[in-house]
């Protein structure tokens, strides 16, 4: 069976006026379903580029990238967008909730994009409960919530379309240690239920939650 993520000799080159910048240099990587991978490495090493690539926000300059068995190299923007919506959940360091929407609407948003209708069957409430958000928070705007609560909303939003992969970019970077631990416990729980997680982190203590750690240096897996 094909791995849920496969990178075959993937490179990403950014052409700049003063010379090309190689962000990823012939990276080959397989990620099996249910793995929890931490990506570490110094700043500018290519961690974020790798995460963006797996998140279908960017496409490789060369090499092949397969997400859930589909090659993304030749996909157009709409196909990449749909793949992000249906197969990938994103969790960001700065939570990145939509300020115009309420908590419940934020959680519901990817589902509305996918189903083209509002969530009338209680999926959003179910996920809010799962990540430990009180129902009374549903009508609040994200700005009225604490950092930990916002990250819980982001996790619920990332899970609402039941994606195959969860991508986390420094998920505890903006949280205190205690709240960070709670969030990591939550992610571990999701991983134990079979979700594949790729997490970029600087923090070795957070990386310990992962089952495998990959270190990137100068665009290559060290």
């Amino acid at each position: 069976m094909m791995p849920v993520i496969r990178l075959e000799d993937v490179s990403k080159v950014y052409p700049l006026p003063f010379g090309d910048v190689v962000a990823l240099d012939h990276v080959t990587l397989d990620v099996e379903k249910g793995e929890f991978i931490a990506i570490m490495g110094p700043s500018g090493s290519g961690k974020s580029t790798l995460l963006n690539m797996i998140g279908c926000l960017d496409v490789p300059t060369s090499g092949n990238l397969f997400i859930a068995g589909r090659s993304v190299r030749e996909m157009d923007d709409d196909e990449l967008t749909d793949l992000r919506r249906d197969t990938i959940g994103f969790i960001f360091q700065t939570f990145n909730l939509i300020p115009l929407l309420t908590v419940r609407e934020n959680v519901e948003y990817p589902l509305v994009l996918k189903e083209r209708r509002r969530d009338t069957w209680g999926r959003s409430e179910e996920l809010m409960a799962k990540v430990g958000l009180e129902e009374s928070l549903a009508p609040h705007k994200p700005s009225e919530l604490s950092g930990g609560q916002q990250q819980r909303v982001a996790i619920a939003r990332a899970l609402v379309n039941n994606p195959a992969i969860l991508l986390c970019d420094e998920p505890t970077g903006n949280l205190d240690t205690k709240t960070g631990t709670v969030i990591m416990d939550l992610l571990t729980g999701v991983n134990h239920q079979g979700m594949t997680i790729i997490m970029v982190t600087h923090d070795p203590r957070i990386a310990e939650y992962a089952s495998r750690t990959i270190t990137i240096v100068d665009g290559k897996i060290a």
């Binding site: 963006n52 998140g55 926000l57 960017d58 923007d77 709409d78 967008t81 749909d82 992000r84 919506r85 249906d86 994103f90 960001f92 990145n96 909730l97 939509i98 300020p99 115009l100 929407l101 609407e105 948003y109 990817p110 509305v112 994009l113 996918k114 509002r118 939003r157 990332a158 379309n161």
Partner: protein, 386 residues
Amino acid sequence: MIFFQFAQRSIRLHFLRSLLAVLGIVIGVVAISSMGILGNSLVLSVSESLSDVGDTIVVFPHAGMGSGMGTGRVNDVITERQIQQISRAVGANDIIPLHIGADRIEVGGETGVATIYGMYTDDIPLLLDKTDGIYLRGTGGAMAGKRLVSDFDLKVGSRVSVGDATLRVVGLLDERGVGFDINPDGALIVSERWYSAVYDEDDFDQVIIKVRDINDIDAVKNAIEMQLNKRDTVVDVFDTRMILEMIITTFNSISTFTTAIGGISLLVAGVSIFNVQMMSVTERIKEIGIIRSIGTRRYEVMRMFLYEAFLLGFAGSAIGGVLSFAGGYLALIVMLEGNTSFLFEPSSLIYIPYGMLFGIGTSLMSGVYPAWKAANLNPIEALRYE
């Protein structure tokens, strides 16, 4: 739909600047609609005051041409021979030659100046309607136009001194309004024999042809031109339909022009919407990055911003549409001296939905580029934007 909610909330969040953009559209819509209503009312008002129905051909001596061909006369006239030529050209249609002059008149000590039309008495019923008395038959009588009747308090039987002669009013004419052929409201109609005798004038000043079938107008006109203007242009031939069309066209052009001036304010409003939308996009770059990264397609982002432009345009157009009644009313009070009866004509009212459509259209067009820009942002760069 969730994108519509985005648009509504974004507008609510920036209420003041949205309100100002809406105000621009309101002004634009009111300007376009009011100017349209005013222009159309002008056209209607002019059309109403013109009495001709378009079945009339008018022949004038060619301006600057010494008619009578070599007679050495200075005045432009149509000779008896030319009348016969016209008569041959028009066939069975009625031909009405006219002498036209002006003279001092006196009625019971009151004096004034009146236009004097000299006509063959048989022709008078073809051209004019009476309200009282009888149609002129002999040479000693006259018929009086409506304005003359009221100015001089004329009645059937009144005596009017014209120059050295005296005429008895035998009939009073109905009001006719401004015409392209003759304007009898301020005139006395006298017999051709009386006119030629008193003013020593055998040639005519104008010939009117009443065409029985309106479809023959062009054919009759051509026949007259062929008969008389073969070598030189001796007469000018106009049909009232053409003149009417020219006037209406001119007023329509004025109407279009004034509406276009109104359009300029809508253009300014469009720039304001564009500005507001560009601000909205710039402020929400990060948000666009977020929604793109979690699966929002480009066209959905575009729709979100177009909804916003539409809502601004719709609100402005709806308010503008209502205020256009007042705007149109005011414009008519000022320009048509208080005559607002044309405001409720369908051809006037249609300018309100027109104005509203232009308002919404302008908003949408102004919103296209910002929306396109938002939709085509690179999600990675947008996410990094602070």
